[in-house]
Amino acid sequence: MNTKAANSGSGQTQSGRPARRSLADWMPKIVMAPTMIITLVCIYGYMIWTAVLSFTGSRMLPSYNFVGFEQYERLFNNDRWIVALTNLGVFGGLFIAICLFLGVTLAVFLDQKIRAEGAIRTIYLYPMAISFIVTGTAWKWLLNPTNGLEKMMVDFGFVNFKFDWLINPDMVVYCLVIAAVWQASGFVMALFLAGLRGVDGDLIKAAHLDGASTFTTYRRIILPSLKPVFFSALVILSHIAIKSFDLVAALTNGGPGYSSDLPANFMYTYTFTRSQIGLGSASAMVMLGCVLAILVPYLYSELRGERHA
């Protein structure tokens, strides 16, 4: 594919000087055109389209009878949506906090000239290569109250051990947290470990010469210098949390009832199986709002930082 493109490109450019000039000037724009069109239509165009639909009374098929903010009103009066949003808060908050804590701790521990560091790192990170559907399937089996961890602990002699979170509407959201932490915390570890390896060695030596202990050095000097890594991890984790759809589908399917729904699952159910396109679009727009609230300040500071550098 490459060869062909290259040949035809140089073939055309040899045909004459003026033609080559203008063609060379246009070539970057021509090859970028497909991506530019795709981006404009399939990202920005569709966003606007969904926004428009969220102001209509669309049900099974998109229709364009505008009803103002009615769908948003219905959305926030819908108990299932409130449950989904609350779940996102609980799930997202715990998922991010635990991943960051585990990630930083394991990275710092692994940074102490550990034997077999490569092997341990590989073990920590492999869940990230797996689909959330596989993760959900595995944890559904592990957390299964009749045959899973509960039975194992009873067999080990803890006769009164009870672990039925997966079928308990109040606790099921924590099952999502466990599975998601298992999958993503190794990734946070890798991010921080890469950051730790990039810290200036002289800085650390100087701190030690001043008599600072290893603990103080980490707390006062090394970890604060990893602030950018921390923010990157925060953005990536919140992004994973808001987009989480497949994990719920595989682990709980939103149940029991709809007690473990997340906004992404709400949106899918209402748009595609309940024929409430207007309401589904409104929920998608709220999700977009959440992402933008996190993303815009981040991208702004990133791009500005680059310009100054």
Binding site: G9, S10, L53, I114, Y126, T137, A194, G211, I242
Partner: protein, 294 residues
């Protein structure tokens, strides 16, 4: 790193500390390994052993029946052909989607870093947003578009969707990589009469091998593991393996066969796990490329 003067004095303390360190690291390793081990053990048991034993009790003999059932005869929704046809579907989707999105990303990254034009930086910023939007925002319009194009529920439709929403990431990867190539190189080549594609093909591509590997691995993992687009845009006979696995697990004709579920889950995870084991270095680099800039 260790201060030698106090290092000697506190060596006993140090030893305790190191033991604790290793203990924590090994417990964590057990936490990450356990689900996979349990899956593997469960897949090798028969239904009776699963009912009587517990998660970690080993099977009496290695029993691969559940593997062959998961592969070729387990029921996924309405048909009972195992997950093998859907495993193949995933490859039919992944291979073209990865190649096309990587090629587009390479050319875009080349233009954005070395052939800047008015507005190309703005366009890159606009494209970056595409890495992060929640896809729920584009699902319905995309479903309509695929219908109009006549590729709804087809493999080509899924390839199209994955290329469209993958190109932002591939462009980002190549752009960050090409940022380090000096612009003078391109200017000199242009003075020598080399054209846009000649420079790309002769100068840029030969040094791009690492980023091509990173991008291909990243895209392969992303698209293979996708569930949302698969469930929203595929027809029954074009489902990717993740959708089929979810159907298999949630289909319950008669008793629940956890051993078959687990075997199917491992099969669905094998391609990406293999990539991770054999090219872990590049996988990690892909993961961190977006986050830690360099």
């Amino acid at each position: 790193m260790h201060n030698q003067a106090i290092g000697r004095k506190t060596s006993a303390m140090d030893k305790v500390w190191r033991v604790a360190l290793y203990a924590v690291l090994l417990i964590a390793a057990a936490f990450y390994l356990m689900p996979f081990l349990v899956m593997l053990i469960t897949s090798l048991k028969d239904v009776e052993e699963i009912r009587t034993g517990n998660l970690l009790s080993l099977p009496a003999s290695l029993n691969f029946d559940s593997w062959s059932k998961a592969w070729s005869s387990a029921c996924t929704g309405s048909s009972c052909e195992g997950i093998s046809p859907f495993f193949m579907n995933s490859f039919l989707i992944v291979i073209p989607a990865v190649l096309i999105s990587t090629l587009l990303g390479a050319i875009n990254g080349y233009v954005i870093s070395l052939w800047k034009f008015r507005g190309s930086d703005l366009f890159f910023a606009a494209l970056l947003v595409g890495c992060f939007i929640p896809f729920q925002v584009i699902l319905l319009p995309m479903a309509q578009t695929l219908g109009w194009l006549g590729i709804a529920n087809t493999t080509s439709g899924l390839v199209f969707v994955h290329v469209v929403y993958g190109v932002a990431f591939t462009t980002l990867f190549f752009r960050n990589f090409y940022q380090s190539i000096p612009g003078e190189l391109v200017k000199a080549a242009r003075l020598d009469g080399a054209g846009f594609f000649t420079i790309f093909y002769r100068i840029i591509l030969p040094v791009s091998t690492p980023i091509i590997v990173v991008t291909i691995i990243w895209q392969f993992t992303q698209i293979w593991n996708d569930f949302l687009f698969g469930v929203a845009f595929s027809g029954f006979d074009t489902q990717p393996v993740t959708v089929a696995l979810n159907n298999l697990v949630n289909t319950s004709f008669g008793g629940k066969e956890y051993n078959v579920d687990m075997a199917a889950a491992i099969i669905a995870a094998l391609p990406t796990l293999a990539v991770y084991v054999f090219a872990g270095k590049y996988f990690v680099r892909g993961l961190t490329a977006g986050a830690v800039k360099g």
